[in-house]
Symmetry: C2
Subunit: 384 residues, 2 copies
């Protein structure tokens, strides 16, 4: 039951008509006074709702989130911004909140305006449908090309952390079209939400890639209302939050557009942590690595080539081909620069690629999916 599992939250998901026949409008609200934080896309062409939500976060603690699917309300100019503000204002009116206490998120096609004639009546329906059992309906209403809902729950001593997410394309670090809402009844101090959210996002949503794209709309929201009355245990809370974020991130990659395999790219022995990340990211986004994964063909030279061209500091991250070792599902194909003549088996829905650079102690890992015919089909046909 996802975001409504923690005490003191209600949610709903309804159909307001942006999309022809699928639910397209979700509301999540805290019933007790909440504190919260949100992280947004770094894209310079951030969507109108991102701009408006950023402003709202500076003015007030978030108490509710409104999410529509079907249109991203991005690239829509002044009209789009007014529509995002009107959405937050109307939701606030219906919920008895200030407009600034409402965050608005959108996902869908870029460049199409938000149809207020559908969203405003839809809000009345969605607010009327708010329920402590509404988590699954909300999780359904935020999907676009996703094939299934993404939900996760972690329990701590006396409290719960839960989350829902959407995203299967445009998935890449810096939150590329993925939206996630994480709720908890843990008693966070006001303003403390940021310090917990940032590291949790770094090692989850910012360490996955489906297609290397960075969306205009990505957002992760954390709402904490303390309704559990649990004692403070910040380490345990941080672990539960990280678990929910990692689990949602994994589900996003598993449901990556056209994905037939989930690969974990583990880079060790790098000269520095940023270089380890740059190399893991480069491999995780390489079309040649990803098509080879789809073909269940190790073709490991592509991993080496990608690793050798990882953008870092205006050049490429450090790599010495004579020190590199590479394993597929544990099978060594390259040991300190020397090919082993092995052809690893790559059956099954998961694959682990271990790249040891042999240069230092730094490491990083990424989850990625393969690049299949279906990815092309889905994205060549997205709007039709």
């Amino acid at each position: 039951m996802t975001v409504t599992v923690p005490a003191g939250f209600a949610a709903s998901g309804v159909h307001c008509g942006i999309r022809r026949s699928r639910p397209d409008l979700a509301v999540v609200r805290s019933l007790a006074c909440a504190t919260g934080a949100a992280m947004f896309t770094a894209n310079r062409a951030a969507a109108a709702p991102v701009k408006v939500s950023r402003e709202h976060l500076e003015l007030a603690e978030p108490q509710a989130v409104v999410i529509n699917s079907g249109t991203a309300n991005a690239g829509t100019g002044v009209r789009g911004e007014l529509a995002a503000r009107a959405t937050a204002a109307e939701a606030g009116r219906l919920l008895g909140l200030a407009a600034e206490e409402v965050l608005v998120l959108s996902t869908g096609v870029i460049g199409e305006p938000l149809p207020l004639d559908k969203v405003l009546p839809g809000l009345e329906k969605a607010v009327g449908a708010l329920s402590p059992d509404g988590g699954p309906a909300a999780a359904e209403a935020i999907l676009t090309t996703d094939t299934r809902t993404k939900q996760a729950v972690a329990e701590g001593p006396g409290f719960t952390v839960a989350g829902m997410a959407k995203g299967s394309g445009m998935i890449h670090p810096n939150l590329a079209t993925m939206l996630a809402v994480v709720t908890t009844d843990y008693p966070l101090e006001p303003a403390a939400a940021w310090e917990f959210l940032r590291p949790a996002v770094g090692e989850s949503f910012n360490s996955i890639s489906v297609d290397g794209e960075c969306s205009t709309n990505d957002a992760v929201v954390l709402l904490a209302n303390g309704a559990s009355g649990a004692a403070r245990d910040d380490d345990t809370f941080a672990a539960a939050l990280a678990e929910v974020c990692r689990e949602l991130a994994r589900q996003i990659v598993e449901d990556g557009e056209g994905a037939t395999v989930v690969a974990e790219i583990a880079v060790t022995g790098a000269a520095s942590e940023p270089e380890a990340r740059a190399i893991a990211r480069r491999i995780a986004t390489s079309p040649l690595v990803k098509t080879a994964l789809f073909g269940r063909d190790a073709n490991w030279g592509r991993v080496l080539a990608a690793a050798g061209s990882a953008p870092y500091n205006g050049g490429y991250a450090h790599l010495d081909p004579d020190r590199v070792s590479l394993r597929y599902n544990g099978a060594p194909v390259l040991v300190r620069g020397t090919p082993q003549g092995l052809e690893p088996e790559l059956d099954g829905p998961t694959c682990r690629i271990d790249l040891d650079l042999g240069l230092g102690d730094a490491q990083a890992s990424y989850l990625t999916s393969d690049l299949s015919y279906d990815y092309v089909r889905i994205n060549a046909d997205y709007r039709t």
Copy 2:
């Protein structure tokens, strides 16, 4: 007749057995004493032949180039390096040149060693076949997944510049698996070849992308032997060289793996030239833009999203969504941040996307191809 059109060059292409039934070994040599230059991949996992050729260029003026297809001789450790050295030494012996006067280039699968038992006898055959009519045979022998040869010729007053290239996948700036050999009978000063080659490559081979990959083996070689006896006219020579490089680069994109459309991404109004390039490159490598091109669906928001997330200086290049204008084949879909409600027609084999950032005077452009089912098919099956 490509690289043998300029006076004083001979070439050949033969089958030596690395590949089952296609020609796989090419030799180009200057018959008069030549000066030359070469630019190689920036990939840190550069192949053995790149390492060896770089060394040779520091020791001597290049007089001949040996190119094999079928294996990249990359990721092959010490054994690969010895094989590259043996190839240059044997070619030098057969051609009456020092080993250091021979450049060696390889293209094909990474991680497989160069089979000297085939290459050394093959060299004897290839040197025996050298002919002033051998350009097309050489252009054929260097291909891998290419569907056709890439050849270009430009005439100056009394001299000729000609080139051949290969490459259709792993194509990206910094020379990703593409090889090109450009010959000219123009009388270049020794050591001057670099200053002509660098800018010509920058605006041609380094401004195209098929899949954003950077190969371990890319190289562009320029050999100039002065055999035309033409008068020096450096500006005209530079223009002819640029024309040949641009033409070869265009042919590479047209023959991009699975390409059904060639798109020119022209970015203007950028805050700086590096940012213009970063944005053009980001759009040109975006899987979502490229699948939309395949679907002949403008879905222009994807261009905006890509432009807003162009890596630059540790962050993203400057872009203000309220100032951006975007045209497809001349049709304005977005004018200073406001969508125009237009749905541009995208039929035909070419597409031009003009993005005006409205920030400054800097500009850059890129050629790219679309991402189709065939790209996935070719790369999922490459080795089978």
